[in-house]
Amino acid sequence: MEAQTAAKADAAKVELHGSNVIAAIKASGVEFVLSVPDIVTSAGLLRPIANDSTLRLVRVCKEDECIGIASGLHYSDKRALTLIQYTGFLDSLNAIRAVAVEYKQPICMMVGLLGHEPERLPSESGRYGVRIIEPICDAMGIPHHLISQDADVAKIQPAIDKAYADSFPVALLIGRRPLAQ
């Protein structure tokens, strides 16, 4: 019984702090954050980013705008992060297909997996929309990384650096609501 209690306590300690994610975004040289609000990342990422004078937040009306804006910024070597929900990712697939993949632009997308159960892999989610995200990325050849706990934050800077080095998109999938601290 004690072991079970300890295991539950350990599981409860698995967290993702928004401040860690934002620090990694900044360390990646990102200057612009392009976003449609997503309840997964609203409190832990978007709100603090909106209050952070070292990042320029561009609020857009629809997610595919981010793909064009990021491309335009890239022509002058400005790094951008697109912060959206998976529903917006799905809505933007043609823009991602054309601008990011076929024209080989380093579009870096941070995608909130609304409804995802953090203890599962996205491919095993009970939510259909979440379950199809990684296979879609694979079909389009887009590298993707799951960011579900603080230990995953170390993946962010190398992934963004590689996207710019290769001039190719990347998807950073947020599998747990980042804490607003």
Binding site: V60, C61, I69, N94, V99
Partner: protein, 187 residues
């Protein structure tokens, strides 16, 4: 009613070091006026020309960015008017050629051919809004329009064009994109 190619010829007489972002039929007719390193052709994802232009404008605040949009294209990204209005880049001039149809896709009519783009841009927050349907008036004012502090919006009421040849791979060739990027890196 004007011809788009006449409007573009009038515009070209005043374009120097501006980046011109053009899409679909507008891109073809602008490109027909001659090669320019500072042309940026937005293809593959219809509607995004204004968003590409916003990114360029934010990254290059000291350089004027001119976008040559289409009416069908802009209808696919109307939210970008609001985004641009909010960001309010002083260096962005947004033309939309209003010929009331999806010219690059068979000239089928817009869902509402009489949509008031200038009214939409005005309410979205553009600093200056124009609406041209006579070439003489456009020729007289175009230098003033592109010299204003933006964001500036202008509807060009134009006829359907002559038959165009759409060679998208040539317009968006990798070497052209590399040349544009190299030019912008010079500052």
């Amino acid at each position: 009613m004007m011809k788009r190619e006449d409007c573009f010829k009038a515009l070209a007489r005043h374009v120097t070091d501006e980046v011109v972002v053009a899409t679909y039929s507008s891109a073809v007719e602008w490109n027909d006026l001659g090669p320019r390193v500072l042309n940026y052709f937005s293809m593959g994802a219809m509607g995004l020309a204004s968003s590409h232009a916003l990114g360029l404008a934010l990254a290059n605040p000291n350089r004027q960015i001119i976008v040559l949009d289409g009416d069908g294209s802009l209808l696919m990204n109307l939210g970008s008017l609001v985004t641009i209005g909010a960001q309010s880049p002083k260096n962005l001039v947004h033309f939309v050629s209003h010929n009331e149809c999806y010219e690059a896709n068979g000239s089928h009519p817009l869902p509402n051919p009489k949509v008031d783009f200038s009214g939409l841009a005005r309410s979205a927050g553009y600093a200056h809004v124009f609406d041209f349907n006579e070439l003489a008036s456009f020729e007289q004012q175009v230098a003033h329009v592109i010299g204003l502090q933006g964001p500036v919006f202008a509807t060009l009421r134009v006829e359907r064009s002559r038959p165009l040849t759409y060679d998208y791979p040539a317009l968006y060739a990798p070497e052209k994109r590399r040349a544009l990027k190299a030019e912008l890196r010079k500052g």
